[in-house]
Each structure stands twice: as C-alpha cells, then as structure tokens.
C-alpha cells in the first residue's frame, strides 16, 4: 500500500516538474513574438501551449532513462528520482521568481546528481559525463546560437535595408510567428518526452508495469497536458527578461532569432551534441542584438543569466541532496511525505513572493529600466476612467517623470491626475 502511495507521490511530482518545465520555457519560443507585438501575449502563450501539446504526441521515442551517462544507473531508486525532481522544481521556481531563464533539464540533472551524491557518494556520479554532456554544451550553446543568430540578423538587416518598413514588419511578423511555432513544437517533443521517461522509469521501478513496457497512454496525455498548462499560464517574468531585458527587438530580429533557435536545437540533437533549448534560445536572442547594427545589448542582464546557468547544477543538486537526506533520514513513506509537504510549502512561498511584484500579460511589455531594477508600480489604467488598482502598472514615479518627455505631456497629465485621484 505505501509502495503504491510512494509511486503516486513520485508521479505527481514528475508532473509538477513537467508543469514548471512548460511554465519556465514559454519564453524561449514566444518572448520575441510578444515583445514585437507580432502576437498578443495571451494569443502567443495559447499558440505555444497548443503546439507543445501537439509536439508531445508527435514522436513517442521515449527511453526510460534519466540522467543517462551522468550517474550510475544502478543507484537510481524511486527515492533518488523523487529528491532529484524536487531539486529541479525548486530551482525552476526560484529562477522564475528572479525572471532568469535557465535550463529545466539542467535543473533536473542537477537535482538527480545531488540526490545520488547524498545516497551513495561521489562514486555514483560519472564526472566525465557531467563535464562533456552538461558543462561543455552549456558553454557551447550560447556561442553557437549567438554566432548563428547574429549572422542571420546581419544578413536580414542588410537585405531589408532600403525596404519600406510596413512591408518588412508585416512579412517578418509571419516569419517570426512561424519560426517561434517550430521552437514550441520542438520543445513539446523534446521535453514532454523527458517527463514521460521519468514516470515510465518510476512505474517500472515500482513494479506497476513490466520492464519492457511502452509508455501508458495516460502518461502521454497527462505529460502533454501539464506541460501545455504550464506553457499557457506562461512564465511572464522570464518572457519579460527574454523579450525586453536582453535587447530591444524588432520583427526582423525576432524571426532571425527564432529560426536560429529552431535550427540549432534540431541540428544539435541530429548531430548528437544536444544543447539546452533555453541556452540556445537565450543565445539566439542575444545574437539578434549583436548582429543588428545600432542595437543595444544589455550585457549586465546577460551576465546575470550566465551566472544562473552556472549555479543551476550545484543549486539544484544541493536541494536534491537535502531532500534525499530529509526523506531518507525520516525514512519510508513518511519521509517522502514530509519532503513533498516541504515542496508544497516552498512553492507556495515562492509564488507568494512573486505576487509582490507581479508580472503578467498586462505589463510584460513595459519598458525595461535596468538602473531602477525595472520597478513597476500598480496604478489605475491611463484611459481616463478610474479602474481598479493594478489594472495597468506603469513605471514607478521617479522613472515616470523622467520618461514623461518621451511619452508625451498629455499621457503624463492623465496618469498624473489619475494617481492624484487615487490618492485622494
């Protein structure tokens, strides 16, 4: 009985990871389309969610392996997988809170390595595999993606130099949405597969299905569904960083960046040098700023991102190890339940912290203000009609007054008087 309950907890946690994976990675495909307003924010995440769902059904070449070639396959138990999943989820949520795109698969790998270290020590980890399959690709991905996207952007900028702007932005809007869709599809195929693999492995380990079993249909459906749900709810904080924080982007850059992402992601798996979707997408967006004559790249934001990538493995590993110790220390089903309860509490706390400065589809495209930390202050909508507070957050007062010249005196007057009306 407790065996079954343990299995249920692991499956639920795997689906939760699947959810954070969709949630965390929406921006990889859709941030540029949202930033250039090629798609409305809600429409973009809906399209991405549907394509993620379709992608999950496209190919069912699922292997029941987790962290293959990175840890000793013999030490993988339900307990280890569970602690690893918790590590991955917690790191995914934390980086989401900070608005930093980081690789979901690296978070999972980090969590599993951490829990393996806690379970059997350093002998359980294949360090050469960790270096060649995780660390080196993490360094190579942005280099390749920046190179490809910068070249593409530069070529596009040259070729469209003298063209009327309405024609190029109309044309590239299509190209951008098309290429972003391909990235979403690839993400659904790749990443939903990983969660299916974990659940299949858990089912086999728990003896619920025979070792040579294929993926049960309910696993496919639920993995596809939870990833799509996560994608639809949209990690707006990460979308904002990718779309507005790194570079100011136009539709030409967006198309070049997404095409570069799609091409590099698929080619890298074709040539057996798998690169993280997130690393490639981020690199491509950076590259579209590098290749665009006159575009400004915020290297400070890029640097913070790189730091988060470097931290992903050890941080998720630490959480994974801690979870294993807690779970194993208490022991049995009770230990797993305690860890699960801790996960729920932590997730709720992180969500609660995010509500203090919410980012959602209404303010995802607000101007980025690096010096002031992109502070947003909720005020009434500037339509002249007093709406509920936090309808349309605008910049904090200091920033608003400095940008008022650019926005126009009329706008400033309206927002100013609305603020006063609110305070009165």
């Amino acid at each position: 009985m407790t065996e079954t309950l343990l299995l249920v907890l692991v499956v639920v946690t795997a689906l939760a990871f699947d959810f954070t994976n969709g949630f965390h990675d929406t921006g990889n495909a859709m941030a540029t389309s949202i930033a250039t307003r090629a798609l409305k924010p809600k429409a973009a995440v809906l399209l991405s969610a549907v394509l993620n769902m379709v992608g999950a059904f496209l190919s069912l070449a699922v292997a029941a392996t987790i962290a293959k070639g990175l840890v000793d396959a013999n030490v993988i138990t339900l307990e280890v997988v569970f602690a690893g999943l918790v590590g991955g989820i917690v790191w995914n949520l934390l980086t989401w809170l900070w608005g930093l795109p980081s690789s979901s698969s690296h978070a999972l790998v980090g969590g599993v390595i951490g829990s393996v270290l806690a379970a059997v020590g350093t002998s359980g980890v294949i360090w050469s595999g960790v270096v060649s399959k995780v660390l080196v690709p993490a360094l190579a991905a942005p280099v390749v993606a920046i190179g490809v996207a910068a070249t593409g952007t530069w070529l596009v900028a040259r070729l469209t130099r003298n063209l009327p702007q309405d024609l190029t932005s109309r044309g590239f809007r299509w190209g951008q949405v098309g290429s972003a869709s391909l990235v979403s599809l690839a993400h659904g195929t790749n990443d939903a597969q990983k969660s299916m693999g974990i659940i299949l492995l858990a089912l086999i380990t728990g003896g619920a299905v025979p070792a040579d079993s294929g993926v049960p249909f309910w696993v496919i459906i639920s993995c596809a569904f939870f990833m799509a749900l996560g994608t639809y709810l949209g990690g707006w904080r990460i979308i904002r960083t990718l779309g507005k924080g790194l570079v100011e982007i136009d539709t030409r850059q967006g198309m070049a960046a997404e095409t570069s992402s799609a091409a590099v992601i698929m080619l890298s798996s074709h040539f057996g040098f798998s690169l993280s979707t997130t690393h490639v997408a981020t690199g491509s967006i950076l590259g579209s700023g590098v290749g665009m004559p006159g575009a400004k790249v915020r290297w400070g934001v890029a640097g913070r991102m790189l730091a988060a990538w470097g931290l992903t493995l050890p941080a998720a590993g630490l959480v994974g190890a801690a979870c294993f110790w807690v779970g194993h220390g208490i022991g049995g089903f009770l230990g797993t339940t305690v860890v699960f309860a801790l996960l729920v509490i932590t997730s709720t706390a992180i969500w609660w912290a995010s509500r203090r400065k919410p980012v959602d589809h209404t303010n995802v495209n607000e101007a980025w203000d690096e010096e002031k930390g992109a502070d947003l202050e909720p005020v009434a909508a500037t339509t002249g009609v007093a709406g509920p507070v936090s309808v349309a957050p605008v910049m904090a007062p200091e920033a608003a007054s400095s940008s008022a010249v650019a926005i126009g005196a009329v706008h400033a007057d309206i927002s100013g008087s609305t603020k006063e009306a609110l305070r009165a």
Partner: protein
Amino acid sequence: MSGFIEWGALAQVMVAGLVVGAGIPALFALGLRLLSAPGAPDGAASDGAAVRPGLARRAGALVCFAVVVGAVVAGIAFLVSGGH
C-alpha cells in the same frame, strides 16, 4: 579538456546552424526584397505602392519562400521521425 569536447560534432552543428539558421532568414528577407517595388535602391519610388514587381522577381521570391517552407516541413518531419 579537449577529450571532453566533441569538436567534430560541435563544428558540424556550427556550420549547419549557420547554413540553415542564418540562411533561412536571409532567404526570407531576399524574397521580401524581390516582392517589393523594383528599382528603388533609395526607397525613393517605394511610396508608389502600385508598382508591381516583374515576373522574374515574383518567380525568384516564390523560390525563396518555397525553400523556407521546405525547411519548415523538413524540421517537422525531423521531429516526427523521432530524431530528436
């Protein structure tokens, strides 16, 4: 460190990535350029929107867009075939 890096695979990804990932947007841009008003190097005649591109330009644009669509179809086929 060199033993840890599969230089061959990395180089393949880089080269193929440049050809496809940068080539497709460039072709798309070229197609748009061919479709826009001809003989307007400085954008001087571009406000005369009634000017239609000639047959050769339209055919060229069609080829460009066809290659782009072909690449997208190839990408989807790759995903379906489980090559990921």
